[in-house]
Amino acid sequence: MRFFAVEKQPQLSLEELCHVRWLLGGLLALLSVWTLFHLEVSIWPFAAVATVTIVGVMLHPALPGKVPRLVWRLLVPLIVVVFVVDVLSNEIVLSLVRLNTMLVLYRAVSYRERRDDLQLIALSLFLAVLTGVLTVSIVFVVQILLFTAVGMVLLFVINVVDDALAGAPVSTVRWVRIPRRRLLLRLRQAADVRVVVLAGGLFAAVVLVTALIFLAVPRFEVSNPINFLALNRKSSLTGFSENVALGEVTDIQTDDGVAMRVDVRAGAVVPEEPYWRMVALDEYSAGAFRMSPSARSASGDRALPYLDLAPMQQPVGDRDGRPRENGRIVIFLEPGVSRYLPQPGGFSEIQFRETQEIIPNDVLRVYAMREASAGLLSYQIEGADFGGVIPDPFFAQERTRAATPSGRRAAPRGGSLSLGGAGLEPAARGGVAYPHTTLALPEAPEAREYLAGIVAEITGGREVGAQEFARLACVYLDRRHSYSRQVRLPPVEGTRIEDPVIRWLQAGAGGHCEFFAAAFTLLGRAAGHPVRVIAGFKGGTWNGYENYFMVRHAHAHAWCEIYDGAGAWLRVDPTPGAGGIGTQSEPLNQAQVALASDRSTSAYLDSLRMIWYRRIVNFDQRSQQGVISSLRTVGRTARVWSEAVVQVVREQYAAWQKAPLSFASKGDILVLSIVLFLVAVLLKRLGLGKSDVLEWFQRGQMSTRRRAGLLLQRLEARVARPPRRRSWDEERALELAGQLMIIRFGRVETWPEPLKTFRAVRRIL
């Protein structure tokens, strides 16, 4: 016969349960309100006020009781009025979010019965899901997981409280003050390891089932999805638009946030410092470049739905005409970066996951959406070419047309030189139209004279081709100007020329990429070569955790493209150290990738986002098929592997059986026996028996009595042989031994605080 030690598990009182319920409700509301911080900035103050109020009321539950009843009665009509006004003056989605937040706040700060708690759960869930759908952020996953866990516990507590109340209203509970430390202690005491493990298991099962459902729900290719959630997320510093003033790109560089991620698929080759074109700016006016209206409308200014689009020109070929072999890259563009899609310039096709409204501009080779994407935008680029040579048959045609006698006209206003000997025709009255804009210079004659002087200095008065001119101009700029983020221009009074770029050239001052690009553009045009400014990103860092490119806002850059006179635009990067004309850094090999990889903590966190994008956001029909196929492969492999293992084990066992009895052949049994013996000795030395091991497996921990007994044993040994240290206090040790003895052998009702005693004993030991 065996007497089992039975201890009564401490239980929370009704009041304590109500306190837990109150705190859980508040926590749930907080979790949903915090999702608002992923939305646009205008809603942040609203979320902050809600957070402070909920936290205040959570910690001081007596506060709502001090608010007059009349105020509570007026609150709901007030919320309705605010919502109506909001709807009439703002977007419906944002108004809905605000209404939901107000209702969550109202429920979170008022005393709740069972029905109110359920309302709070539903409202909070709606808010969390709404913002989650809007943001599609990885943080949403964490929040919804937390939300689910807290919600499940809250539902459990609601049921327990209801049972305990047996129909009485919760209002019978006194809402005075929550003794937080004591409540925490009581929760620790009352927490049953088995219940916690069971709850954890249930939660894990829920998550697992959800994940399986996610994988299993059939995906369909929706050709025309409803894009009703066009709500802007956080405002960004980025400003790649049709108008870029000097200094704007450099401003963007101050933001270290990730602008886009580039998933380089197998077979794709990305150079060490790739250029990502976003906007091409052909028109210059007093220190600002812009995309001229004529260029914008050159190939139509209408947004059309595209699932995939290809440039009108064929992919760029090598010098010998062979198409360049390149693989596939997938770009994940962060929300709000720009409506212009970053792309390498040369590619054979862009594929979108869903139909997108795109305004393609094959003249400038830029592709814009109707507006910047509210959510993350991913698209795949086939045949990406980072070579920096962009064919432009349109420009070549225009040039040919302009070269015919009928097409010969006077030089355009603002353009002083012919286009390689052949002037281009203005397309619109009253202004310079594309492609003439690529030759336009400042109107001031002094400025033109100055530029002509420099061109003469660069070329030595001879006529040089575009490529050679670009090389010479880059050398000239590199020699006279240094790179600097701070630009100090001489005062306007000292010169008659107001144009900042000319003044910069005159001063020989240091400047950033935009000044170099602008200066080169003006010089190139002054020399008679069509030149345009390109803004986008250059470079990026390789994420060592998930193997992809992270392009940050700090990689924003401006460079130029010069028309080579033979049907293509050549990339020229006049910024010192950038390599000048048409250069392309070599692709990274594996060793270089390993060395250049960013393995910082922020890169790790970013890699988590990438996993989210790759595995969850980008999970489509193709991915689903891939998963099913992988599962089949895994199943087949596992079966083959297990059969092989069984076969090997069988053979080994047969050989082992047949082997003569020797230390070498049966040594494993001996080793196993020794290990078991040592374990048994160790357990015995520790005073642990079979029942302890069983108990440990069953309860996850030893009983309080057992823990007290083991500590008492150690303490008695220490008292028998006291340490020599000064701090040893024998009286205290004996006192603690007495307390341990009570916990070990006394009635539970007479126990001193066990955890406190254990801590004190460990300290003295």
């Binding site: 007497f3 030690a5 052998f745 006394g746």
Partner: protein, 323 residues
């Protein structure tokens, strides 16, 4: 009354027993351990068999206990011609009233010293069975209750067996403990020699504990808490005696209950309201050894006692104390 002992009761009990010990020590020197065990027996409402040579202080001890508690004390010198009625009392025909009148025997006292109990015949010895068990005496169809508290101090000489009748097992089982006084230590004996020789009547002892207090403490003892692992420990010891091949029979259920009660009384004496394994090991030999008999026959009871003690020690050593 609540089902567990209040701290104040424990303190009061300890204080009372300390006073009692102090009082007994005045005349019984160097025998603190025996005094403790006798008091344990008293608290557990048990009886004690003191087995030792004559002249080592057995009677003095019993007398001191009685005197210190304000209890009535009777001494019965057991001889072979002692009749049961000499112990329990007898009904005598009164010619005047023409009725039988019960004349109570010496057993009607709080503390009864049954000196050299093994000198009496088994019939006389067994006359003590009922009173030791129930605190009642049945004579001629009448049942009389003895005083409370009631305790039998029996003594016997383990060496001189001439003309003795060994106590039967059923009788032995009635004794909570069997104790040995032993010779005093030299220093204590010097003290005894220096002191004047007293006869019992000249003992200057006054009661330090009232009979009522003792009764109340006796009621508290069964409420002292015994944790399951300690009960398990006791049960393992008892079970081991039952499977030990050297013993004729193992410890009975009464013996097991006696062990528990004695451990509870020991805990209370130490000022605790719960039993620890030490309480069990401290009294286990005194409670169990006299209840065990060996299969092989021994002519020398002292030798038999030593063997039983050794086997029991081996058994206890093999059972781990609860940690």
């Amino acid at each position: 009354m609540s089902d567990f002992v209040q701290a104040t009761h424990v303190a009061e009990a300890k204080s009372a027993m300390e006073r009692l010990k102090g009082s007994i020590r005045q005349y019984v020197r160097g025998k603190d351990d025996v005094i403790d065990k006798v008091i344990t027996c008293l608290l557990a409402s048990g009886h004690v068999l003191i087995e030792d040579l004559p002249g080592v202080g057995k009677t003095t001890l019993a007398y001191c206990v009685a005197k210190s508690i304000d209890l009535s004390f009777k001494r019965i010198q057991f001889t072979s011609d002692l009749l049961p009625t000499d112990v329990t009392g007898i009904s005598i025909y009164d010619e005047k009233t023409q009725e039988f009148i019960f004349k109570p025997g010496p057993v009607f006292a709080n503390i009864v010293l049954a000196d050299e109990i093994n000198r009496a015949t088994p019939k006389t010895q067994s006359s003590l069975l009922e009173v030791m068990d129930r605190g009642k005496v049945s004579v001629d169809g009448r049942t009389e209750t003895v005083g409370a508290p009631f305790m039998v101090f029996a003594t016997q000489n383990p060496v001189d067996y001439e003309g003795t009748f060994p106590l039967p097992e059923s009788q032995m089982d009635r004794f909570l403990m069997r104790l040995q006084m032993g010779y005093p230590e030299a220093a204590d004996e010097i003290e005894i020699l220096k002191g004047a020789r007293h006869n019992y009547d000249s003992f200057a002892l006054s009661p330090v504990v009232s009979a009522r207090e003792v009764s109340r403490i006796q009621q508290i003892v069964p409420q002292v808490f015994v944790e399951d692992s300690v009960l398990d420990y006791m049960l393992k010891i008892v079970a081991a005696t039952r499977t030990e091949s050297e013993f004729k029979a193992g410890i009975s259920v009464r013996g097991c209950l006696a062990l528990k009660l004695a451990a509870q009384a020991t805990a209370l004496l130490c000022g605790r309201d719960f039993v620890v394994p030490d309480d069990v090991t401290r009294i286990v030999h005194e409670v169990l050894v006299h209840r065990l008999s060996l299969r092989r026959a021994f002519t020398d009871t002292l030798e038999e006692r030593r063997v039983v003690t050794a086997i029991l020690r081996r058994i206890i050593a093999a059972i781990p104390e609860p940690v």
